[in-house]
């Protein structure tokens, strides 16, 4: 056991140190690259300028408030969207007839670019947080629903037969086999959903409103304040990263029974 673990650890160590070296190189290139190449600071502001802008935005532009609003919208959209997606996935998985009846419309809605609904939602609900949440709900819904539905279709029929041979009821088959079997694919959907939720919220904020990181982004653009745009992008990336990490942490707890390699593989 320990023999097989050591090479793996050393590979991990090598990977981590290479990753760190890349980060340092990237930050250095950001700081000094534009100056060396003669790129003006309003096109690519160096790292130190973005850092100064960050402090300024924190103090004066209510960066924390904008970030907080965006986080709240992402969270609300993600939770509602994944609950709805899972629920519809399970319902369609239970009823072949419902799935056949609804699948063309679901497919059409899935193909439609969800962010294109943002202006419509703002027309309906005004410059509030709701249209942003709704875009996120719509965008998170599909990967979760599709993964749950596919998972239910791919449950080994022999497992269901085994349960049936013990005289399991329909509810028992669902709770003891289908539901737990659907969790790994559902979490794959949730991971995708976590990052997509940020996209949905940002597009909503870009289209209309006066709060949130998306708003800050378009405000920076209007002011030709490139450093502020960079600050907003960095913060949005952080929000998406935290959301993704949160899903991974929950997934690790819930799917603790899986061999660890299949979990770490996708990070």
């Amino acid at each position: 056991m320990s023999n097989s673990k050591n090479p793996r650890l050393s590979v991990l160590g090598k990977g981590a140190s290479a990753s760190l070296a890349l980060l340092v190189a990237f930050l250095a290139a950001w700081q000094w690259g534009p100056g060396l190449l003669g790129v003006p600071t309003f096109i690519v502001p160096p790292l130190s300028m973005v850092a100064r802008e960050f402090v300024y935005a924190w103090r004066v532009d209510h960066l924390l408030l904008h970030t907080g609003v965006t986080i709240a919208e992402v969270l609300a959209g993600f939770i509602l969207g994944s609950l709805l997606g899972a629920l519809v996935g399970y319902l369609l998985g239970m009823s072949r007839a419902a799935e056949l009846a609804l699948s063309p419309y679901i497919l059409a809605l899935q193909i439609a670019p969800k962010v294109a609904f943002a202006p419509l939602f703002i027309l309906w609900m005004g410059f509030t947080v709701y249209p942003k949440i709704l875009v996120a709900v719509l965008i998170v819904f599909f990967p979760v629903m599709v993964n749950v539905l596919t998972a239910l279709h791919t449950v080994d029929p022999d497992l269901v037969n085994l349960a049936r041979s013990f005289k399991a009821t329909r509810a028992q088959i669902f709770w003891k086999i289908e539901f737990p079997a659907s969790l790994p694919p559902m979490f794959a959907g949730l991971r995708i959903g976590a990052t997509l939720a940020v996209v949905g919220v940002v597009v909503g904020e870009l289209v209309g409103g006066n709060v949130g990181l998306g708003y800050l982004l378009s405000f920076g653009e209007g002011q030709a304040d490139t450093p502020l745009v960079f600050v907003s992008i960095v913060m949005l990336t952080a929000v998406g990263g935290i959301a993704y990490l949160g899903v991974i942490l929950v997934e690790r707890r819930v799917l603790h029974y899986l061999p660890s390699r299949s979990l770490s593989g996708n990070i």
């Binding site: 022999d158 049936r164 013990f166």
Partner: protein
């Protein structure tokens, strides 16, 4: 229980019976395809009967009919004299696949059937514990299936099957996915367990030696539409010890008879040409 072992075939009580069971399916083109035709046989209390035959002859269909998962087109299966109309608490099956649930520990997997049947938790735990102990798996009770070898997993599947305390076990090539040495050990464990508990079993297998060493009788099926073409009583002692039976010179006579009846050389040639065509 022990007298059942000594004269298994002579037992008067019929546990499992097929009466003119016929199964027709619609094939891809919509025309009827007869999987098994007019199959009748019975398995007495404590008896082990093996079913062998070419692949696709409908052996597994018979198992599904016996366990009540599918209804025959004609005829019937009876367990303890009662017509099987659906899944039945007295019958449990075990497949080549272990069908262990990856999110359950080994002990929880053993308890799966009794849990569905709403046996009280303390009794469930007790049954799982004693079965795991019996199969030398007690130390793995809290492990997850992926941490066990194929042979151990199959033993867990057998424990799960026995946990519901069935009268009849339907075994569909239970050991065909494990390596040859593990298979011999598993066969011994199965034979011992069935003999000790006096259980009735119908064993579907491709392995002629397995059929001869484990059973009281071997039934030979024809190719599709499957029907029973020969019944061979295995007249050898020590049905509870297939390893001892392997050493019995009579085994070779039985194997020769089965090979002859199955037309082995011809069948394998035909399968090869079918493979080329596909």
């Amino acid at each position: 229980m022990s007298n059942v072992m000594s004269t298994p075939a002579a037992s008067s009580l019929t546990r499992l019976e097929y009466r003119a069971a016929t199964m027709r399916f619609a094939d891809r083109h919509g025309s009827a395809l007869t999987a098994v035709r007019d199959v009748s046989f019975s398995v007495g209390d404590g008896e082990i009967v093996s079913l062998i035959g070419p692949s696709g002859c409908g052996k597994s269909t018979l198992l599904n009919i016996g366990s009540g998962l599918t209804m025959p087109s004609d005829g019937a299966a009876l367990v303890d004299g009662e017509r099987v109309t659906g899944p039945n608490a007295h019958v449990a099956f075990m497949l080549q696949k272990d069908l262990l649930l990856p999110w359950r520990t080994i002990a929880e997997n053993v308890m799966f059937g009794v849990e569905i049947q709403k046996v009280p938790l303390s009794e469930r735990r007790g049954r799982a514990q004693s079965l795991l102990k019996k199969f030398n798996l007690a130390e793995f009770a809290a492990h997850y299936p992926h941490q066990l070898s194929g042979g151990m997993r199959q033993r867990v599947a057998l424990a799960r099957t026995l946990a519901v305390n069935p009268h009849v076990l339907l075994l569909d090539e239970p050991f065909s996915a494990v390596d040859a040495q593990t298979r011999i050990v598993l066969q011994r464990d199965l034979a011992r367990t069935l003999a000790e508990a006096g259980k009735t079993a119908l064993l579907i297998t491709h392995d002629l030696l397995e059929a001869v060493t484990l059973s009281d009788r071997v039934l030979v099926m024809s190719r599709r539409p499957g029907t029973i073409v020969e019944e061979i009583a295995i007249d050898m002692p020590r049905r509870d010890d297939p390893i001892a039976r392997r050493a019995d010179p009579k085994v070779n006579d039985y194997l020769a008879r089965l090979m002859d009846r199955l037309d082995i050389a011809h069948a394998s040639l035909e399968r090869e040409t079918a493979g080329d065509a596909g």
